[in-house]
Symmetry: C2
Subunit: 112 residues, 2 copies
DNA sequence: TAGAATGTACGTGGATAGTCGTACAGTTCA
DNA sequence: TGAACTGTACGACTATCCACGTACATTCTA
């Protein structure tokens, strides 16, 4: 099992019941993170470095943490990469229709 | 017509097309503002001071601005009060189903 | 017309977000 | 085993958020 450091053995993922609406909204209120949602909504798992360009690694780590701790994504270790995936089932169970609405709300102006 | 100051004759309300999904999500990512949404969703207009308790007037002004500039609420002058209402039609037109989903996502833990 | 009522403007201070560079830990593979 | 690779940890910096007190503009009313 992949360990991040001796002190923080596991990345924190909230359980389904711990996912808070506010935290999800705040997480998705950032254009970079909203774009990540759109990419991950296609399905499958992506390494951290394969979704966003033009941002430093440490900045990405920050955004992964926001998405992970709000319950939007899951991070799973695989070899030397972390695979990201959308917690679609949990989000749909907790907030039925929310993700569908967000994905269907096409707003090109934000698509940077 | 009510004027706020000589320099800022009108409060800024984005047009329907200018409403950005991110801005709405960020605005509703704060518990106080989410509660305001729930109150206003009942319908009708409320004076600024009739919705939230325990917060200073200037703090409220800050939150009204966030809600107004994101396109969530409308502020209309009436005598010496400003009447707040939800821009339900605009939000429903721009992001069909979003408000419904948010209102039906009951999350008691956030109901402070 | 003077005082009360409503709500904004402005300035301030502390907390949080967002970005980066550097260092480092774990994994893979030549 | 050692170097390359992937991603986090940490510290620093800037910008924005959030809350407040005070001052003020507007409106209503006694």
């Amino acid at each position: 099992m992949y360990a991040y450091t001796r002190d923080v053995p596991d990345p924190h993922h909230p359980t389904r019941d711990q996912i808070q609406l506010e935290a999800v909204l705040t997480a998705l209120g950032h254009p970079l993170r909203m774009n990540v949602l759109r990419v991950l909504a296609e399905g499958g798992e992506y390494p951290c470095g394969a979704i966003v360009d033009g941002v430093s690694k440490s900045t990405l780590t920050h955004h992964w943490r926001v998405l992970r701790e709000s319950g939007v994504i899951n991070q799973r270790a695989s070899g030397r990469t972390l695979l990201l995936s959308l917690r679609r089932d949990d989000l749909d169970a907790r907030f039925p229709g929310l993700i569908d609405v967000l994905l269907s709300s096409h707003t090109p102006a934000e698509a940077r």
